[in-house]
Amino acid sequence: MRDRWGKKAFQAAAATTILILGGLTLFLFQEGLPTLWKSPYEGVTYAVHPQNPLPHLSPEAVQALVRGETTWTALGGPEAPVVPVYLANLDRYVSAHAPAPLFKHILDSLATLPGVLFALPPSLLPARTKPIDVPWNGWKALFASARWSPTYEPIPSVGVWSLLIGSLWVSAIGLLVVVPLGIAMAVYVVEFLPKKLYYAIKMLWEVLAGLPSVVVGFWGLMVLVPWIQKIFHLEDGETALTAGILLGWMTLPLMASLVEEALQAIPPLLIESSYGLGATQWQTILRLKLPYIMPSIFTATLLSAGRILGETMVVLIVSGNAPLLSWSPLMPVRTLPATLAAELGEAPVGSYHYHVLFFLGIILFLITVSLNALAYVIQPKTRSA
């Protein structure tokens, strides 16, 4: 009877878990995938002066024109200065509170300028203009560019590479910190720590692991950032290196306890065999124990990587948050989760920005899921000896 209840309870718990996880995943994909076919300027029509000979413009060309990085002439258009007119800069020409006839009159006179470029809802567009096609390619926008400025008007830049590389820097540095330190700590605890201190140290780990990440981040901001600034003579100590070191520290309890577990699980007879052949303690550690637990170390590294990749608060605080392509760990970076945390609150629901952020969520989800799956697949089979 009890067994049946136990089974039922387990089934209910499993079903709930699957339902919640499935629902969340479904939501993530439902909100993120439209990025691939939606365009950031739906409801907006691009138009130019009727004499402008260009048949279409690329989104990059529009951005360059608006930024003043190129001219109509360079693109093969009229010899006239660029006059961009879009919702966000309308107030440069006419106040939003102007009476409707004045509003219309000003737009109409803007339309007579040969270099004009309108990006307006069709209802606002003056009559004597020529619509121009600005084809949008979601894949290209996401993956062929490294510029991240998702609210730029009239066309945002949503290249994910700077964020991906930011995440990569932080994770790589975090792993460089956590893997050797985690192994060293586990070896120390198993081999050299007196049994009486063992439980005290274990408790300390738990406390360290349970520290709210915002506290860790604040400590990093107050202590680590100034150090890094001083040591490397930087203008600003908020860099990928700072975030990586801090994340490595935060992941240390996880890494160390996984390696420790693996060390404790080595069959005692195997260890005695090594000593029996005249090995010293260090020889046994380096030649038998570490090679023996290599698969576990690999698994622990993957799990730590997943943890580091997903960590948000700390990187938000100490990484400098600049979505730039960084070729040095001493530059500020922005990671995927930090971007989500920083921007999702400001993105209007259903806007292109909102969908792009969910798309970043999908990327993050796929990376961490595959890391965990890989860790599961290669997890060491129980060996007997």
Partner: protein, 250 residues
């Protein structure tokens, strides 16, 4: 000079006394079998001989153990060096998760004195001595874990022999093996007696009778009787021994 001498050896693990004033002598190139019921102290005695008990918390001993006339518990003795002279094989095969070759070479590499060509030679020699060479000579790079249980145990013997000990300790080496593998190991012990002195713990009295020159019977931490195997099984002097070998307890 005796190969192994124990003089009034007592052992404690914390408050528990595991051996009471055990004394015995073993001559060179002989096989000593240690028998007795579980928990009688035979394994404890065996592990004294390569100081494997040093790892157990609360271990303490009194008395003297001499190997080749040298007190192995004297303060200047490094147990690491002692264990290179005293090889050990365990109750289960304990191959390392490396190749067959690397398993046998493990003890040789620890000393960092041999060239790779010399190691090769010693590996082959050890595998021949352990009667395993013909079965594995074409697969030395194969994982040792892929061998059968009996082959693994012979590999462990080869591994112990490779460092050229003069004394070989075996802690129930056949307890995890099938009868055929057991027979092979026993045959091997017979061969090895030419070169080595062997101390073997066994649960199996027939095995002790088959392979040993001298048999020692332990009970409740005391050495009850130690005599030539022939006499031990045919004409035991102690009534306790008689009761044990006739199967009345244990």
């Amino acid at each position: 000079m005796y190969k192994v001498e124990a003089h009034a050896v007592s052992v404690w693990y914390g408050d528990h006394q595991a051996l009471y004033k055990v004394s015995l002598q073993l001559e060179r190139n002989q096989v000593l079998a240690l028998i007795g019921p579980s928990g009688c102290g035979k394994s404890t005695f065996l592990r004294l001989l390569n100081r494997m008990n040093d790892f157990i918390p609360g271990f303490r001993m009194e008395g003297k153990i001499l190997i080749d006339g040298e007190d192995i518990y004297a303060p200047h003795v490094d147990p690491v060096h002692l264990r290179r002279r005293v090889g050990m094989v365990f109750q289960k095969p304990t191959p390392f998760p490396f190749s067959i070759y690397e398993n046998v070479a493990y003890g040789l590499r620890l000393q960092n004195r041999l060239k790779e060509s010399q190691i090769r030679e010693r590996v082959e020699q050890a595998l021949r001595q352990a009667a395993l060479w013909d079965e594995v000579k074409d697969n030395l790079k194969k994982s040792a874990l892929a061998l059968s249980g009996g082959q693994q145990q012979r590999l462990c013997i080869a591994r112990a022999l490779a460092v050229r000990p003069s004394l070989l300790l075996m802690d129930e080496p056949t307890s995890a093996l099938d009868p055929i593998s057991t027979a092979k190991i026993e045959e091997l012990i017979h061969e090895l007696r030419q070169t080595y002195t062997i101390v073997i713990v066994t649960h199996n009295m027939q095995q002790a009778a088959r392979i040993s020159d001298v048999t020692a019977f332990f009970h409740m931490g005391r050495l009850i009787e130690c005599s030539r195997t022939k006499d031990f099984f045919t004409n035991p002097t102690h009534p306790e021994t008689l009761r044990y070998i006739t199967g009345r307890f244990g």
